[in-house]
């Protein structure tokens, strides 16, 4: 007798298996990006997850080795594109550290305004996306109105919305206009209202709390071992913040609190980001006051928007380029990347939207970096994801991913 013919070919021992293998991603809408996770689930419970990344790997570090220093700023935009001004300024500060440029106080304050605005924009997206994933789409539509207003400020300052390419080595490419200050002041009156409404909708919302509390927890010890930084580490209860630990850009003059959580679950991460937004609003207020006080005391400070020491690394103003020969030549040299930097080895880090964004730069004195490595917080903490969602529900895995705020551009570089 011949063997009976089976039409369905089953994998070896698949009938004995009690669990299901589920492929989540890379184009799954709930992952908000391109992450693939092959999950082993028992009913609704996740037993194991194997993440695959690299779906938008773009070889930033290789490109950075072939580009003059100026042309790397647009690359940093595209790392964490939800808060690109922070990345831009981190990169500029790295070059300033390499060249030994000290920026004037007014530049520092203006930078802080922009950085904190982009932190708010970043956290708004993350928190509203947690809302979307728990079924509260309304917050998303409200919050995007606020975010558009922040983008309007960026547009006024640098001419671009999302990938800003804001600032230059030593400061900004041009001074802030009156309109940009007006817009920031206007935004500061709207932001607290918007944030308050946001909080009313979610913070003590029974459904939201039931979904989020206890989902995707991580202990402080494991978080540190996994190299967590930023809001995700603070939600686990460690008060590490680069702005305080190694202050840059005159952050030491500002008075702000670091919100921390206790359990490191989705709800704590949400609350920490919420708290940080309030702190950012307060920092922006202080920075505006400081700028005004500075201008009152020294009226000529009004026109300071970059460090004079950075003249050899700063594009001349457009009016000069069009009317003066030297400025045109210098502009050309600058754009073609004919300006060499000092040889040296420098690591600089800033507190980005997701944690410590680090720039490890080795310069051999040429027009391009010899080696530039980005410390990308997302890449480092996303590896804890399988451990965090283990033994949780599948729906918890989704909100854990959105609460970690993993940005594909930063993850894959």
């Amino acid at each position: 007798m011949s063997e009976p013919q089976h039409h369905i070919k089953l994998a070896e021992e698949s009938l004995q298996k009690q669990t299901t293998t589920l492929n989540l991603g890379p184009t799954h809408p709930a992952t908000h990006g391109v992450f693939q996770n092959i999950l082993e689930i028992d009913g609704e419970r996740v037993l194991e997850a194997v993440p695959t990344i690299g779906y938008i790997h773009r070889a930033f570090e290789k490109i950075a080795e072939r580009r003059p220093y100026y042309q790397i700023t647009p690359l940093t935009d595209r790392l964490n594109y939800c808060s690109s001004p922070i990345n831009n300024m981190g990169w500029h500060m790295t070059i300033e550290k390499l060249l030994g440029i000290k920026t004037p106080k007014r530049v520092d304050y203006l930078r802080i305004i922009i950085m904190e605005l982009s932190r708010i924009a970043d956290h708004l997206v993350c928190n509203s996306v947690i809302g979307v994933d728990t079924g509260a789409l309304t917050v998303f539509t409200y919050v995007f109105q606020l975010r558009e207003m922040i983008y309007e400020v960026f547009e006024e300052v640098c001419g671009s919305r999302l990938t800003t390419n804001i600032g230059r080595v030593g400061g900004f490419e041009r001074n802030f206009t009156e309109a940009s200050f007006t817009k920031i002041h206007h935004l500061l009156t709207l932001l607290p209202k918007g944030l308050k409404e946001f909080e009313i909708l979610l913070n003590r919302n029974r459904i939201f709390m039931d979904r989020c509390i206890g989902a995707g927890p991580i202990s402080a010890e494991r978080a540190l071992n996994y190299g967590f930084t930023g809001p995700n580490l603070r939600a686990a209860g460690v008060d590490y913040d680069v702005r305080v630990a190694s202050p840059y850009c005159s952050y030491e003059e500002f008075d702000f609190k670091i919100p921390v959580g206790t359990n490191g679950d989705v709800y704590d991460r949400y609350l920490v980001r919420e708290g940080e937004m309030w702190q950012s609003v307060s920092i922006i207020r202080q920075a505006l006051e400081k700028v005004e006080a500075l201008e009152k005391e020294f009226p000529d400070q009004k026109h300071v928007f970059y460090a004079p020491e950075a003249d050899h690394f700063h594009l001349p103003p457009k009016e000069d380029v069009y009317t003066k020969m030297e400025a045109l030549i210098f502009h050309f040299k600058m754009i073609m990347g004919e300006i060499d930097a000092l040889p040296g080895e420098v690591y600089h880090s800033v507190e980005g939207g997701n944690g410590e964004v680090g720039y490890y730069l080795i310069s051999d004195g040429g027009r391009t970096p010899y080696r530039l490595h980005f410390r990308r917080p997302c890449f480092i903490y996303y590896q804890a994801y399988p451990e965090m969602i283990k033994d949780g529900l599948l729906s918890d895995a989704i909100i854990t991913l959105s609460s970690l705020n993993v940005i594909a551009g930063e993850l894959d570089a």
Binding site: G33, G54, I56, R58, K62, I63, Y81, V125, F144, E197
Partner: protein
Amino acid sequence: MGRPVQYNTKIKIVKMPDGYTGEGFFATSFDKVVGLARANSLWPLPFATSCCGIEFMATMGSHYDLGRFGAERMGFTPRQCDMLLVAGTIAKKMAPILRQVYLQMAEPRWVIAIGACASTGGIFDSYPVLQGIDQVIPVDVYVPGCPPRPEGIIDGILKLQDLVHNESLRRRGSEQYKGLLESYNIQ
């Protein structure tokens, strides 16, 4: 905070196609009716990978609201959608997946490449990046910008609506279209 309900009375209705009308009947060519219906209810399938995806979120958001143009419902499943919006860099690792998604879509299907990366590879002239998605799937509309503003994306979608509106019903069965698909090795 109370929000009084306001009704939008400035609703634009599409123009009636040319035809013969009389008492109780209206006669026009089938092409025009189908084109009209298709163009104004394009279901988008967002294939958002990076920065342009965030701008696409803004386009779908309350401020710009793509829903005004009949693209309210995001499909998220290729089998129900008409319009594939590729927003962001497509790496070579991602290219087969993009192709698979395109193959899963039912005819008629249209593709918009949003942003410089999807159109040409953009600033990423590097080894892991696909230099434009038109190497793996046919594209109908390219939207420039890095990333394009939401207005730009909306403009691209309006351009596509024009294309859809005026597309001949025979196009999808034509030899030329088959040749186009064959050049991409799609049967």
